[in-house]
Symmetry: C2
Subunit: 242 residues, 2 copies
Amino acid sequence: MKSTPSADDARQNQLLAQIPDAQWVEWKPLLELVELPLGHVLYEPGARMSHVYFPTTAIVSLLYVMENGSSAEIAVVGFEGLVGISLYMGGHTTPSRAVVQSAGVGYRLRANVLMQAFNRAGPVLHLLLRYTQALITQMSQTAVCNRLHTLDQQLCRWLLLSLDRLEGETLRMTQELIANMLGVRREGVTEAAGRLEKAGVIRYSRGVITVLSRPDLERRTCECYAVVKHEYARLLPSTTAM
Amino acid sequence: MKSTPSADDARQNQLLAQIPDAQWVEWKPLLELVELPLGHVLYEPGARMSHVYFPTTAIVSLLYVMENGSSAEIAVVGFEGLVGISLYMGGHTTPSRAVVQSAGVGYRLRANVLMQAFNRAGPVLHLLLRYTQALITQMSQTAVCNRLHTLDQQLCRWLLLSLDRLEGETLRMTQELIANMLGVRREGVTEAAGRLEKAGVIRYSRGVITVLSRPDLERRTCECYAVVKHEYARLLPSTTAM
DNA sequence: GATATACTGTGCGGTACCGTACCGTACCGT
DNA sequence: ACGGTACGGTACGGTACCGCACAGTATATC
């Protein structure tokens, strides 16, 4: 999926990869490599951000936590995107929380640096706006999917979205975590995953999921996955597969 | 809710009302009054738009229609917003459909006119981006609400969102329509509305809903409504109530 | 190797909503 | 006045998911 898996190059991030050269030489020395361990919170609801994050090997979940503690995921951000859109969208904060869903690394840039580029509105602005629209599609589709599709379908969609943002065919996440992301009971995930395993689509073992047949996964999910995938491809055509 | 209910003034639209004067004198003669009858489709998924629409008395639903014909609403746009964000977001199209949910009027502006203002990025850009973030919050909250809350709560939320975008305490919409918007069965709406009526919160009669007690409605809905409401208020502080 | 801990599987009653079918009733035009 | 149509109410079995309780099993700790 990513061109040079070992090199910790910020341009593994698809957005940074598409920044025009003139801007890039300016940003490159200002980008800061950060570890993103599982569960690390990048921002809390209502908190003003000091940086925007460009994940490379990590995956970040945008999720909303209800007053009673239950939560549901709104969107996923991996090496294809950026965490912190509210900064340049003009609102500075959001009511949602950004949590690392799969450990890895990423790069961050100080808010004021990003905003400088934004004020001299040029290609950077248009790139970020296009990304935002893709993210909006993911959110919309999540809403629709929550309403209309079965847990089995949603689990497949979620696995595929995660898989697209990682290398290899292995995910490291517990059923408890997945349940939180999908906004369902942990036992529900157990059962859905059990069905997938029985069908030989995945192998599941204590926090490690191995996808045996990606095509089968795509066959079992709803149309939502393809819609999101196509929108990302359309809005952010890139040098690599995704 | 709106300052001058009878005058068909484009500045009944909250976004147009906040356009800086310099820009306004330029746009004013270019704005075109359009009738928006119930069910009128402003744009189809994937279609390139020729105009952006600023509703004044109409309400527009953004909804996603599945391959099998079932549909769910992603967000609502009334006099507080604009229909056609994908135009300036850079993607030009979206996979969703925009349908008039409550008949009324609005104003439209040619796409190229809007884009001119956008390219000389100034206050107009920042206003539109802030609006977009509010809309994104509404979408996210819809996703969460779909997953975690009961139909009764969602119906209250939906009634309140619609009420906020109209004058008076009366909505004109059939249960069938509401069911389509919420992505549930028509009978489900019958039952939920029946419960509200029995409790004396609304009166329902053949396509006409009268809200008898707004506070009761707010008491029965989930936190989602307030979250969205506050985000709109925060991001788009305006001269009027909303 | 024993014990704790984290993770996964199972069972059971409850409930919210679905799919389908059908009937009642208000409003329409002629 | 009468039939048509659009809209709303009711009923009933089915199912997907919930809440809760508890049992099993792999990994970590010592």
